[in-house]
Symmetry: C2
Subunit: 217 residues, 2 copies
DNA sequence: CCGCACTTTGCACTCACTGCAATAATGGAA
DNA sequence: TTCCATTATTGCAGTGAGTGCAAAGTGCGG
């Protein structure tokens, strides 16, 4: 029997745990209601009521009503993952490097997501593409960080590029944008299939498809 | 009242012309104010006042405050352009085909944009990436249309694909998403450079860069 | 048990946005 | 020109998102 002390699975004191519980309750409430009546048919007042908090508290947890349905955006890749990517040099192709970088970003989920919340969110975002694009738009910061990471990798692969800032920046941005197109694609496929399998696998598939697309060019 | 003689560049009656003038006045007002004080520091009331209309009228022209700064999204490519793309067959590479399709979409601007409005918009979107991503997010419909167009092209290039709907759809979506990454890139470069040169040229450059990226793979 | 820090909440307020109905402007036809 | 149907503008009243502030509640260390 695996004996795990509670403090191993849940960190922090009562405060931290209550905070997470409230956050989840709010997300559950907004997702449930939005699936029933559509996102616009739900008010913050109802959401807060169902979640058992005051409307004012809702806004202590989420800056907007949208933020509650969209949920957390993937975190910046960890330092080690970034270092690995930058120094993977020409040994590993840029494409594979980016793929692994994104995979690490997905795996290091900021919080242990609740399965039911994730399921509802996936369904809702699939049914309302507007919300999906909003979620993607919210990844702007991650995108920007990715541009800078790619830039470092490019310089390392081809030091001559550092003399042509213009070209370097342009190329890094293009690569980062393409990477985001891949994320978007993987997520779409994943959501469309009711989330059978992990998002990781979908991302790998997307990169495989990208590879074959490039080959056949 | 200054009555401008109806030049042959403007079509339609007084109604149509007034409508366009009002629309432009509102955009000018919102852009000017937003450049001064930031988007959030401006109210619809101020915008409407500066534009010489009532706040209520503002919402007859734009559904949201954002819509006024974001402006019109590129239109769907024209039928002929679509047909050309679909039947360009393997003769023309998919990459070149998409490039030309997007170029035609940019050129067939829905309305003859006012230069000053475009300049202000570019500056504002460059300074506020949030608004830029919002603009991109608003192109969702165009994106969806593009997926369907690409699908037709893929089927034509490789009829066998039509048996594997799954694969076809996945690939079309990936291609369309990549195309949008290119648009985003071109627009970024264009805006960053104060819009020297045309957006068209930037898009061509982006596709050239994409090509070389693929080559070097 | 106490006091400190953090969290929740109520309240008052601003502002985006909407539906409706009254009014004004326009375009066309007699 | 005059009259009428159409369409555009506006005021008004109302909903609901989001914010700042201060008071009341709750967890935590001593």
């Amino acid at each position: 029997m695996t004996v795990v002390t509670p403090s191993d699975t849940v960190q922090g004191g009562v405060r931290e745990r209550k905070r997470i519980a409230t956050r989840n309750a709010i997300q559950r409430a907004v997702l449930t209601l939005a699936l029933e009546r559509g996102f616009d048919g739900v008010t913050v007042e109802e959401i807060s009521h169902d979640a058992g908090v005051s409307p004012r508290t809702f806004f202590n947890y989420f800056p907007t009503k949208e933020a509650a349905v969209i949920g957390d955006v993937p975190a910046t890749p960890t330092e080690p993952a970034i270092e690995r990517f930058i120094h993977a040099g020409p040994r590993q192709s840029l494409l594979d490097g980016i793929r692994d970088l994104l995979l690490s970003s997905i795996d290091d989920a900021p919080n242990p997501h609740e399965a039911d919340i994730e399921t509802m969110r996936r369904t809702l975002l699939r049914e309302h593409p507007y919300l999906f694009t909003l979620r993607m738009a919210n990844m702007r910061q991650l995108e920007q960080e990715l541009v800078e990471i790619v830039e470092q990798r490019l310089v390392r692969d081809d030091p001559a590029l550092s003399h042509d800032k213009e070209r370097l920046h342009s190329r890094a941005r293009l690569v980062a944008f393409l990477a985001f197109a891949a994320i978007k694609h993987a997520w779409s496929c994943w959501a469309e299939h009711g989330g059978r399998g992990a998002l990781d696998d979908r991302l790998v598939e997307t990169f495989d498809e990208l590879e074959s697309l490039i080959q056949s060019h």
